[in-house]
């Protein structure tokens, strides 16, 4: 078993880079859509054989056991190489939760199935009335013999139509004094009569989001993870690493590269107005990377990140949006055209990039919520 953490950062980066460079299928690089499992199954098998499906999990559970600093490098290389994250909800979300709060029996049963993708997971958090105000969720789960019976609706459930299981936050005590209490974390199979999945078509015409309806759906009692009614604090405990990952520079750097080659092909760099706006965007990306490096150094020194890490997400997602807006401007009369635009030997789908950038300021806690967090926790502004 390799101790990746003992390697120098440079050595480790080289190793990861090389693997992604030589082993990842070219036709899957920088996929413009979220793939179904069948499309990337071959790549998943390779990762699984290599033992690299779960970089953050401890080695004893089949992960790579990377520390936070090494993990960042892994993800940076993944993004840089345009390597699809695969169907990683199981690895990113349920797995760590089971490792931290699950019983031995749950670990033995579920973890290997996550790594092999025998089970493919989707995340049932948001509801029509519970988005930014997630604790407002209403989907109920009640005991009935050895089962929970689930009734309610989830929404924005990414790729639910290609999942075998859902992990969800449900209300198990409707009479709890605070809305954050009385919420539990449940695992449930999707393939049963009480579960109905409908896809939602997005602005870009994709169908990666779904609504999931529960009408007396059932899941065994043993699929409760952690304590009953304590699901909220467990789910929150998982978010700390996600907060720097979601603010990493990769997406904006890739978009900037696309903008530059596209705009050069279009002759946009002859226009001084475009030049200034491009320079603004490019410097926004470069200076964000300097701030990101400061937080990454904190992880490298083994420190925990504070609430101020939220500023990375605000800056980089809004920057990404400006870059994709510039792509549309550089496209001129083609700015409303669906599909790839060819310039020389570069092909750029400006609308796809534009659409892809829109939800980044909404997901993972909308940027307005992030600003609320910063104003309270960092600036100490009063209620």
């Amino acid at each position: 078993m390799t101790d990746w953490n003992a390697m120098s950062d440079a050595e480790f980066r080289k190793e990861v880079h090389q693997f992604f460079e030589t082993e990842y299928p070219e036709e899957l690089r920088h996929l413009p859509h979220r793939p179904k499992f069948a499309e990337i199954e071959h790549w998943h098998r390779k990762l699984h054989t290599k033992g690299w499906v779960a970089p953050a999990w401890p080695a004893e559970y089949g992960g790579m056991g990377l520390n936070a600093a090494k993990l960042l490098i892994f993800y940076e290389e993944q993004q840089r190489g345009g390597v699809n994250r695969g169907r990683d909800m199981g690895v990113q979300m349920v797995g760590p939760l089971i490792i931290k709060f699950g019983t031995q029996k749950q670990k033995d049963y579920w973890l290997p199935r996550i790594l092999s993708c025998e089970d493919i997971w989707c995340q049932g958090y948001s509801e029509p009335g519970a988005g930014s105000d997630l604790a407002n969720l209403r989907t109920r789960a009640e005991f009935d013999g050895d089962d929970f019976v689930i009734n309610g609706q989830k929404i924005w459930t990414t790729m639910a139509h290609d999942a075998t299981h859902i992990f969800m936050l449900v209300r198990t005590d409707p009479n709890a004094p605070k809305k954050q209490q009385g919420i539990s974390f449940l695992l449930a199979p999707m393939d049963q009569p009480g579960v109905d999945v409908r896809t939602i078509t997005t602005l870009s015409g994709e169908t990666e989001f779904c609504e999931v309806f529960f009408d007396n759906a059932r899941t065994p009692r043993e699929n409760l993870v952690g304590e009953l009614n304590k699901g909220w604090s467990m789910a929150k405990a998982l978010l700390s690493f996600e907060r720097i990952f979601i603010g990493s520079p990769g997406l904006a750097q890739n978009a900037l590269g696309q903008l530059e080659s596209f705009a050069r092909g279009r002759g946009a760099f002859d226009d001084p107005v475009f030049r200034d706006r491009f320079a603004q965007a490019a410097l926004d990306v470069e200076d964000h990377a300097a701030l990101y490096a400061r937080f990454a150094d904190q992880l490298r020194r083994g420190e925990t990140l504070g609430a101020d890490v939220s500023m990375l997400k605000i800056w980089v997602t809004e920057c990404l949006q400006r870059i994709t807006e510039l792509m549309i401007e550089a496209a001129g009369p083609d700015g409303g055209t669906v599909g790839p635009l060819q310039v020389g030997n570069v092909s750029v789908d400006v609308l796809a990039s534009f659409y892809k950038a829109r939800p980044t300021t909404i997901y993972g806690g909308s940027n307005e919520i992030q600003r609320n967090i910063l104003s309270k926790a960092v600036l100490g502004l009063p209620d």
């Binding site: 320079a279 300097a290 701030l291 600003r371 209620d383």
Partner: protein, 374 residues
Amino acid sequence: MTQTDMLSSDQEDLRLLRESARTLFERAGGSGRARKLRDAGGGWDSDMIGELAGAGVFGVTVPEANGGLGMGLAAGGVIAEEVGRVIAPEPVVLTIGLSLGLLRRLRPDHPKMEQLINGETTLAVAWQERGPGGAPADATCRYVDGKLTGSKAWVVGAAGSHGFLVVAGGHNGLALVLTEATADGLSVDKRVQADGSSLGELSFSGTPAEQLAEGSAVQDALAEAISDATALAAAELVGLSDRAFEITLDYIKAREQFDKPIGSFQVIQHRAVDLNVMLEVAQACVLEVLAQMDCETVPKIRARLASRAKARAVTAAKKITRDAIQLHGAVGYTDEFDIGLYLNRALVLSAWLGDDVYHRRIWLDAREEEGAAQ
């Protein structure tokens, strides 16, 4: 020693330097001192120059062999930030970046070096001229037979300096010459700036001057000194923005309307967060740039880095000081509150050595040129 240990001992040196500079300025009266000096006619305090020299401030980037601390631009940036925090009018960046930046590269043997480091003298640098380009390469100000003729514009620190380092056209291309403030045939026209300081317009008619250097070396040293000063001015703007934001944050926590602190309103909170994020990005950028400039030897790359820092710092300082006025409300528009002093200083520092738009242009041109060369 491991690399990490070395890094942290460097960091420790910078922390101590920051602490002593901050104590020195705070003891002298912080930003209140800037107001007094402005009201007294817009100069600086020669006792303060002496104190700063005593702390080693002016020689911070001068090699130890030439009587300085040999600490590099990163340390200069720490000092510049502290100058910015209290909007001190003393010519710190001017001296570290330009006057000593030129002398230490061209004439480290000259007696003026020691006098500048010791704070016994201050020298303003006259390198620009009105007219197309404003650059020294097409200098119409001439140095012939030991005498200067012509004019120079936008000379920062002209009012209080003992003399001038003048870049003029000479026998062999550009010449760097030294003239005293009291020299014959020199007249200084002052243009008052927003912060009460002044820019000098210099006219020479047969003014006696001493040649210090000539030829392409002058051109090269000037370009390097301007890069240094540009990056240090960026650091000064970051310090200024940092303090302007602190003042504003305190104000919105204290000021009550509708029976609540205005800082409890979400629209104010989100604006404050945006300023804070902008500030943090600027701090990270300028720190990174100064550290990279200390390791970089190619002048064009150093110039590109300096432009990146100034572009970011000006963008942040403009936004922060202007929004600070809005968040203060009507009192922000009065001269009574210090926040206006920060706005005014930001206006002056932004215009000096190129604003954000100018530096973005330079930065992109340089980036393209480097890309084409690869």
